[in-house]
């Protein structure tokens, strides 16, 4: 029969008519029959932090179509290419389907019982020998809020190790720290609607056209705004700008301080707001004396005219929005850069009003959830480790001894890795993250992995570059296979729903956490009466009651029916009262230091890293979506035509990027005026050409976020290019 089918195809009698037939979907009309659904499940996108509302079409128990939810306030029915193809991930290959345990050097399938018993046993043994803090846990902003909360309790109160952090430290930790420095608490004050109402929008190190495309639409609804984009690259976002400031790498602090200098000089500040709601203005004012337009021009590479004009724009704005992402955060000065941004907003009173906010556009779909519930950089509900009352409150809510709640933050992610190298941490449990690609300076990471006694990798996908190091692999459910909430950049809590069952023996992370607690004998202590993520949500509601991130005012049902609910209301700090001891926001004096690894003769380029719209993080997901992966199947290196000519390099040459640490070979060379002379850019998504082989292990002293964005490299030719040498195109 099969042979007959093959012959029919070869002869052309069969043209796969059925597969390519069209049908009519009740809701969406004329469409490929393969995308016609019988039910549509409301959910929230599992990629970035924009938090788009979606409808996933299901037919015969399979996800067949993704659509934007037209009623969702964030995206009004629109989605980016990752969202539009997200249903494919639920039937994609490459999933982890069974627990695997390393036996005689090889990962072999085992039962859940064996897997989790081994895990509890091995970690128990390590903790007995080396102390509880010999376990490090690295979670993720990919989990549901309910799962983050559950994990935090399990790690801190169950395993009793304070060394609990997330991949969010590679992402927006600097924003968290910066907010805490200025306002006394984390929490992005504004919302996306502010993009629509601001008359000046200043984006610093934020390429939203590639990374948060749906926000571009929110911005474009605003017909009155002046968009200023600060970025050393001419990004897609820079092309949207009214003014693009192509600054030198890591000169953003100088620019921000320079703008503040001009605003103070020209009295374009809100004196009343400063007096009523801030401290340390006089210190700041004196400190900023040095940031004259001339000085700032020298540091940034801009002209004084440019700086004056931009300052004027910002100062004259009735409502000014400052948004930033990884250009600011991925820095060893990230936290203070955020504080400098906050300064600018505070001295002009651009906070707590419509259109006026310093706004961190965050990364992952639930980075915010981890910040609020996470038990990592703070206690759940933005409580402080150092605050005895906060600890007592939590102990009472949880009915546990206050003494078991840690009094200080444990090791942050990079410090956990370093502690693995130095032997202080002996076991690490990675959950839904792929540090073998995403962590800076791979060589050190590899050394850390080789030094560990026990590595657990819990992920939806197998194999991943990280699971190569695993002693135990736990297969997790992914987006679309479990139910709970995500919180987006604008504090909007949205519902993510289960569309299909996880493949094979994969289980929701929540179930895994509960199972481990059972094996630790702590199920009833930590999770009394819990069986679903909704139980976790209900407890989290009690824990967050009265806190800034108060989830007690809405139910799952309300979240779902109203397209998400924003904790803290539309915006924070409308009353000008900040969660600091004196109720005032603090202005910080932020010096602009040169970045750590400056180029020299041997390593004469500054390497910048970033993303492209088609891919997500380390491509564990998007590499499995054929459409996305074929759009951009490999990494590239952008180089300015002047440098390419000097090095006698041609478009599509294969080049090697060499740093002091390691090298990345076989990058497709793109000669382009997108980047400045002396700078090169490559995307970090590709494990095959891992940018983190060359990046630097330099971290922000406050947020512990890595400085992914600048390191010194040189460029060499890998091989002759494969194609024809072509004539110029015109």
């Amino acid at each position: 029969m099969r042979l007959l089918d093959k012959l029919r195809r070869l002869a052309g009698i069969d043209t796969a008519q059925k597969r390519y037939a069209y049908g009519k979907d009740d809701r969406y009309g004329f469409v490929s029959a393969s995308r016609v659904a019988d039910t549509w499940v409301k959910t929230t996108c599992g990629y970035c932090s924009v938090g788009c509302g979606m409808l996933i079409g299901v037919r015969d128990g399979k996800a067949v179509s993704s659509r934007g939810n037209p009623d969702h306030p964030v995206n009004r029915g629109k989605l980016c290419p990752k969202g539009l193809s997200e249903h494919h991930i639920l039937s994609a290959p490459g999933r982890a389907t069974t627990p695997m345990l390393r036996k005689n050097g090889k990962l072999e399938p085992v039962s859940w019982d064996e897997a989790l018993n081994t895990m509890v046993e091995r970690i128990g043994s390590i903790q007995t020998r080396y102390g509880p803090s010999a376990l490090g846990v690295v979670g993720t902003g990919q989990l549901l809020t309910e799962e983050c909360y559950t994990l935090g309790k399990l790690v801190q109160l169950g395993f009793r190790t304070p060394n609990n952090d997330g991949n969010t430290t590679l992402c927006m930790a600097s924003a968290v720290s910066g907010y805490k420095l200025s306002f006394g608490s984390d929490g992005p004050p504004g919302n996306y609607t502010d993009l629509e109402t601001a008359d000046v929008v200043l984006l610093i190190g934020a390429n939203i056209a590639d990374n948060h495309p749906i926000l571009c639409n929110r911005l474009e609804r605003n017909k009155h705004r002046t968009l200023i984009v600060v970025d050393p690259r001419v990004t897609k976002t820079a092309m949207m700008a009214d003014i693009h400031l192509a600054v030198k790498p890591r000169s953003d602090i100088a620019l921000i301080n320079g703008i503040a200098h001009i605003l103070i000089r020209d009295s374009l500040i809100d004196r009343a707001y400063i007096d009523a709601h801030t401290t340390h203005f006089e210190d700041l004012s004196a400190f900023l004396q040095a940031f004259t337009p001339e000085h700032v021009a020298e540091v940034t590479g801009l002209t004084t005219t440019q700086i004056e004009h931009v300052a004027l724009h910002y100062g004259r704005a009735r409502a000014a929005f400052i948004g930033w992402t990884m250009g600011v955060n991925h820095s060893s000065q990230g936290a203070v850069t955020v504080a400098a941004i906050n300064n600018l907003a505070l001295i002009t009173g651009n906070i707590g009003r419509a259109g006026a906010t310093p706004f961190s556009i965050t990364g992952q779909c639930n980075a915010m959830g981890t910040r609020e519930t996470g038990f990592t950089s703070s206690l759940p509900g933005y409580r402080k480790f150092e605050n005895a009352k906060d600890r007592a409150d939590l102990a009472a809510l949880w009915n546990v001894d206050p003494a078991i709640i840690p009094q200080a933050r444990g090791l942050a992610y990079p410090d956990i890795i370093e502690a693995a190298v130095t032997g202080k941490v002996k076991a690490i449990w990675f959950i839904a993250t792929n540090p073998a690609v995403s962590f800076p300076n791979y060589s050190l990471f590899e050394q850390a992995m080789r030094s560990l006694e026990f590595v657990v990798v819990q992920d939806g996908f197998f194999p991943t570059p990280t699971s190569d190091f695993a002693d135990l692999v736990l297969p997790g459910a992914i987006w679309g296979e479990k139910e709970g909430t995500y919180t987006n950049s604008e504090r909007r809590v949205s519902k993510a729903n289960r569309i299909v069952a996880p493949p094979g023996e994969a289980r929701p992370d929540f179930d895994i956490f509960l199972d481990i607690a059972t094996r630790l004998g702590l199920r009833d202590t930590l999770y009394p009466g819990w069986s679903t993520t909704h139980d976790a949500f209900r407890e989290w509601q009690r824990v967050s009651t009265g806190r800034m991130c108060d989830y007690s005012t809405f139910t799952w049902d309300e979240i779902e029916s109203r397209g998400g609910m924003q904790w803290g209301g539309e915006r924070l700090y409308s009353d000008g009262v900040f969660p600091t001891p004196d109720g005032r926001a603090r202005l910080h004096l932020v010096p602009c230091d040169p970045f750590t690894e400056q180029p020299n003769e041997e390593f004469d380029f500054i390497l910048n890293t970033g993303r492209t719209v088609e891919h997500w993080h380390t491509r564990t997901k998007t590499a499995q979506v054929d459409m996305l992966n074929k759009m951009v199947p490999n990494a590239w290196l952008e180089i300015n035509p002047i440098d390419a000519a000097r090095l006698k390099l041609h478009s599509h040459d294969r080049v090697t990027v060499v740093s002091r640490r390691n090298q990345v070979a076989n990058l497709e060379l793109r000669i382009t005026a997108i980047v400045a002379p002396g700078q090169v850019f490559m995307p970090f998504h590709f494990s095959e050409t891992n940018s983190n082989l060359v990046t630097l292990g330099a971290f922000d002293p406050i947020s512990r976020e890595p400085n992914f964005k600048q390191c010194a490299v040189r460029i060499e030719k890998t091989t002759q290019r494969p194609g024809a040498k072509l004539p110029p195109a015109t």
């Binding site: 052309g12 995206n75 989605l79 495309p213 005219t305 440019q306 590239w636 015109t730």
Partner: protein, 507 residues
């Protein structure tokens, strides 16, 4: 306010934001506007795409939405994003094209199709393709200057954007239009006569000239840019599909046509030789159907002989083989003691030759398409006829013991080589990027050896013939012709709309 670029020379600013002009800080209630026409089409009007380059951010949602709408695999993109770039840092300009089918007024896909699978819809003007009628000959793929029709090997047929006709008929936006978060794509109504008069808005950097087929897509370009935008996808070209079945079919048919002429002139038409030619022809035709995605429906290719060169080629070669069969039968009649007038042999042979030469001409005309500049040259028909002459001479020399037509073979070989050499020279010095790129491919390390070998083999073949080894000479000569034809197919660089710098590449 337009884009303001700041340079060391200061910058031209739009008007500074005057606070009073800002009406309100309340967001206006937002709904996406309808992006399809609100009225029915009148006589002389059709639908078209409008692409607003100033709005597109290159997010590629349209491409994904198109594939989801049509259930296409990832290798096939009926809507494609192209990148354009210009200027020097930091005054760099980056823009995008998002293009589906341009639903041309003079669509070459429609004209060339041998089976009438294409229709320009009389009401909407949409160029619609029928997968059921299609036989997968891919002639439309060669004809379209935008490389819009794409062959789907899984189906054996071509497919293309139909402006989501099924959705428009239900009053719904096409998938790409609906998916675009920036409302950069919309459907408009265009008056066809007016557009034919003035279609300058169809031209854009990264697009082949609209005058080829009068594309109807209107493109809004960024205003006041002094920067020249250039496509970024042309730094590397891949060899095209070799179409091996056509390499064999064309050379074989040309060889037997030539041989028939030489044999007739030589008065060497005998049943055995004719039978051999007939068999070669049969093999050639059989091989040629393998080029089709749907060989079982090869006969449909006869349908559009009034319009399509491909139909004409099929028709003429069919007649050629039928006449050749008759000729073979007549020459064989005496062996079977049948009385057939011998004086019919010459006229029938002439008729067969006319059909053979006609088929060869039709064959060459197939490749004379503006969308494929390195094919669209006088050298193509010259090559086809010289190949017929060269292989014909070689073949008949191998079939007959005497006299060896050394002079004819030498002359054709020289002419053949000169034609190829001149073609290479013209490709090299062409104004068209695609022609020069074809030369680059031929002279690249991928194909350079092949190119040189083709010339060398022709010379060797003639030498062998001269030294009395007609069979080996034929074999070598045929290899040369096959190699040259292979290069003809793989080195063509089609016109195309701009694509992205990084992309999957398919042969």
């Amino acid at each position: 306010m337009g884009l303001v670029r700041l340079t060391e020379n200061g910058f031209v600013f739009g008007e500074a934001v005057v606070v009073d002009t800002i009406p309100t800080l309340e967001p206006e209630p937002f709904t996406f506007p309808s992006l399809i026409p609100g009225r029915e089409l009148k006589d002389g009007e059709q639908y078209r795409f409008h692409f607003n380059m100033t709005k597109c951010i290159g997010c590629r949602s349209c491409e994904v939405a198109c594939n989801e709408q049509n259930g296409n695999p990832a290798d096939i993109l009926w809507r494609r994003i192209g990148e354009l770039e210009g200027g020097t840092y930091p005054n760099t300009q980056r823009h995008y094209l998002s293009m589906g089918c341009n639903h041309c007024l003079d669509a070459d896909c429609v004209k060339g199709c041998p089976v009438d699978a294409y229709k320009k819809d009389p009401i909407t003007g949409i160029v619609v393709h029928s997968a059921d009628a299609c036989i997968g000959c891919q002639y439309c793929v060669w004809n379209c200057p935008y490389s819009v029709p794409q062959f789907n090997p899984e189906r054996g047929v071509v497919g293309k954007c139909d402006m989501c006709k099924g959705r428009l008929e239900d009053g719904l936006e096409p998938a790409c239009v609906n998916a675009c978060p920036e409302s950069a794509i919309e459907i408009e109504i265009v008056n066809m006569a007016n557009w034919r008069e003035n279609f300058t808005e169809a031209d854009s950097p990264g697009m082949p000239l609209a005058s080829h087929t009068i594309s109807t897509t209107r493109i809004t370009l960024p205003e006041n840019t002094t920067t020249t935008l250039e496509r970024v996808d042309s730094g590397q070209v891949q060899p095209e599909h070799a179409h091996l079945s056509l390499v064999f079919m064309t050379t074989l048919m040309q060889g037997i046509t030539g041989a028939l002429i030489v044999l007739l002139l030589n008065r060497s038409l005998d049943p055995l030789r004719l039978f051999l030619l007939l068999n070669i022809g049969g093999v050639a035709v059989t091989i040629s159907t393998l080029h089709l995605g749907r060989p079982a429906y090869a006969w449909r290719a006869l349908k559009m002989w009034r319009r399509s060169w491909l139909s004409r080629e099929v028709l003429l070669f069919t007649l050629f083989l039928l006449t050749l069969t008759a000729l073979t039968a007549i020459t064989a009649a005496p062996l079977l003691h049948l009385h057939i007038p011998v004086h019919l042999i010459a006229p029938i042979a002439c008729l067969a030759i006319v059909f053979g030469l006609g088929g060869t001409l039709a064959s060459a005309c197939i490749y004379l398409v503006p969308a494929r500049p390195s094919w669209n040259m006088i050298h193509t028909p010259i090559d086809f006829f010289l190949t017929a002459s060269f292989l014909g001479t070689m073949l008949s020399a191998a079939l007959c013991n005497l006299p060896h037509p050394v002079l004819l073979a030498t002359l054709t070989a020289i002419a053949w080589s000169l034609n190829h050499a001149f073609r290479l020279y013209r490709l090299h010095s062409s104004k068209l990027f695609e022609s020069r790129a074809a030369f680059s491919l031929l002279s690249s390390h991928l194909l350079r050896a092949h190119t040189i070998a083709a010339f060398a083999l022709v010379a060797l073949s003639v030498t062998l013939l001269t030294t009395g080894h007609p069979l080996i000479a034929l074999a070598i000569g045929w290899c040369a012709a096959l190699l040259a034809r292979y290069l003809f197919f793989v080195s063509v660089v089609p016109l195309n709309m701009a694509l992205t710098f990084i992309r999957s590449r398919h042969a």
